[in-house]
């Protein structure tokens, strides 16, 4: 039993009207690690999670969680997993403490036990000062922390995290990341859905890239990066005005980056890179900094899907 994979899915499919939201997803997730599901908005991540968490019945295919079928043994699955949805699903009218006590009571703690567990979690998640405030007055980061705390009132064997840092500031995001690492360190398996490449890179041991309801690539972050070949030379200029000239000098392959002073040369090796920098300096273009590295997951994504990952605000995926 404890040897069964955390998640095993074969040909999982779900359609809404004419839209194939999930179109034959295969997943195999080992226990005890963070498994990233990476994809743009509308790729089918949330629908996949909802099927695995027994909220939505698949139209086709099958899936099991820790050895239990998500359809025929849904109740058992629910007692092993917890879900932290995209929306920070806590009751905004209640206080933070009341939310946690509510969960603890529903999971079987008696009155005193529920209160004790609530206090313990509020303390651990840095919410003790805000315990008696209504959640509607919480910041996005506090709300998300409370949401995760509510998901571990009973420590789950498997936790679904659906875009846990969407809309958070960098500090809150790092806090959430720390919590995820703590979860894994304690032995919980985490299925992390994200549209942020950096997040998958930072946290996940393995990643499935999903697009249009299908898994289009799977592997460790390093494998995925290696699959697109060599990395890029990234250059940052002192003067943004000189970027057009610099791009001309570096040749047709040069790409402009979102940073007005940045440009890159994909597929550059060390020799080509040093020649490029030398050419820029010789032409009197000031270089503020440069780096030569592995391809980013952004580039992996572009190479795999033919379109860049959209990093906009998350639209709620219809479900």
């Amino acid at each position: 039993m404890s040897d069964s994979p955390a998640i095993e899915a074969e040909g999982l499919a779900k359609r809404f009207g004419d839209t194939r939201a999930v179109d034959g997803v295969d997943l195999s997730v080992a226990q005890g690690a963070v498994y990233g599901v990476l994809g743009p908005n509308g790729a089918g991540k949330t629908t996949t999670i909802r099927m695995l968490a027994t909220l939505l019945a698949p139209d086709a295919g099958r899936a099991s969680v820790l050895g239990h079928d998500v359809v025929s043994e849904a109740d058992t699955v629910r007692s092993l997993v917890s879900l932290t949805g995209q929306l920070a699903s806590v009751d905004e009218d209640l206080t933070g403490r009341e939310n946690l006590v509510l969960m603890a009571r529903l999971l079987g703690h008696d009155r005193a036990g529920a209160r004790e567990r609530g206090n313990e979690l509020l303390e651990a998640f840095g919410l003790a000062d805000a315990a008696n405030r209504q959640v509607k007055n919480y910041s996005g980061g506090m709300r998300r922390r409370l949401d995760i705390a509510a998901s571990i009132v009973v420590t789950p064997r498997l936790m679904f995290l659906d875009e846990p840092t969407t809309g958070l500031d960098p500090r809150s995001r790092n806090q959430v990341w720390d919590i995820v690492r703590a979860l894994v360190g304690q032995g919980t398996t985490v299925l992390l859905c994200t549209q942020y490449l950096e997040e998958a890179d930072q946290l996940a041991d393995r990643i499935a890239v999903i697009d249009h309801g299908r898994v289009i690539a799977e592997g460790t972050p390093a494998q995925l990066k290696a699959s697109v070949g060599r990395g890029s030379l990234h250059v940052r200029l002192l003067e943004p005005d000189q970027r057009a000239r610099a791009a001309d000098l570096l040749g047709e392959e040069a790409q402009l980056e979102p940073d007005p002073a940045g440009l890159s040369l994909p597929g550059a090796g060390a020799e080509q890179a040093s020649a490029a920098i030398a050419a820029l300096v010789a032409a009197g273009i000031g270089v503020a900094g440069f780096s030569l590295g592995q391809p980013s997951l952004d580039e992996v994504f572009l190479a795999l899907t033919g379109h860049p990952a959209e990093e906009g605000e998350a639209e709620q995926v219809a479900a």
């Binding site: 909802r50 109740d75 806590v90 651990a124 790092n174 806090q175």
Partner: protein, 281 residues
């Protein structure tokens, strides 16, 4: 692209060692019984009354205004004297105010849906309809509070309850039972509409004609024949007649039975429908 290391670790507020400890301590207690689960959701409803009393005030204010306005403005014209009209109107205002409160069962459920709270409840190892049953049971407390407001105001204005305390309690009880049944229709509505506001608007749009085309405000024998026919079959008329009879000391068994039957039919149709929609939500 990974150069966002702007925050020193010392600033982070969650205590990771405590998070670890909390995780280790997160053992699963035995699963609570179905009744305990429903009561916990009922408790949640109580907390909402405490934190968002406006919801109760909003819907109670309308009948209170109606009661004051109709009694003192139209009472003399409709019934000869304001005192006589108050005797006639108050039980109907009780009905109206509690029915209005029942719309909120649908609004609250829709809010839970749109905020994602339903997803959390549905992912828990609990009896699936427990959140629904608990919420509807919790709403009964709202009904009693709304009833109390109307009855107390009526007594202050000079309403004479000839049925005494038992009659008033029985009237409140039958109105609450009927509203319990009707609230399932609104929870169904809450699961098919897209936004809480839409539930509220549609709910009141359905309820308003039924409330006005009843015997709450005027005796039906003053109405044209076709309208009288509708008013006579409107379940809200029967409910009002029941409440009027019980409060006035001459209860009508027929109306009471029809009211209870209506509540039963509403529950039998809409409670399973709500549960069905909720499972698939």
């Amino acid at each position: 692209m990974s150069a966002l290391e702007t925050n020193p670790a010392a600033e982070r507020s969650p205590e990771l060692s405590q998070v670890h400890a909390a995780l280790v301590a997160g053992e699963r207690p035995p699963r609570p019984g179905i009744v305990a689960q429903c009561l916990t959701f009922g408790w949640r409803g109580m907390l909402k009354i405490k934190h968002v009393p406006e919801q109760l005030i909003d819907v109670t204010l309308t009948p209170v205004l109606f009661l004051l306005m109709f009694t003192y403005l139209f009472g003399g014209a409709v019934a000869g004297s304001t005192g006589d009209y108050l005797q006639f109107l108050l039980p109907g205002m009780l009905v109206q105010s509690v029915l209005f409160v029942s719309v909120y069962s649908g609004v609250a459920l829709n809010t839970d849906m749109t905020k994602g709270v339903v997803d959390r409840f549905r992912s828990l190892p609990i009896w699936r309809p427990a959140p629904l049953v608990g919420a509807v049971v919790g709403d009964s407390v709202r009904y009693v509070l709304a009833s109390a407001i109307v009855v107390v105001l009526g007594l202050i204005m000079g309403f004479d309850a000839e049925g005494g305390v038992p009659g008033v309690i029985a009237a409140v009880a039958i109105v609450c039972v009927f509203s319990f049944g009707l609230s399932w229709a609104f929870t169904t509505l809450g699961l098919v509409m897209r936004a809480p506001n839409a539930v509220m608007n549609t709910g009141f749009m359905l309820l308003f004609p039924l409330v006005f085309l009843s015997n709450i405000f005027v005796a039906p024998d003053t109405l044209p024949g076709w309208l009288e026919a509708f008013v006579d079959v409107n379940p809200i008329s029967h409910l009002t007649t029941s409440a009027r009879g019980l409060m006035g000391g001459d209860a009508e068994t027929g109306s009471i039975l029809i009211s209870l039957l209506s509540a039963g039919v509403l529950t039998a149709v809409f409670a399973p429908l709500t549960v069905r929609l909720y499972r698939k939500a």
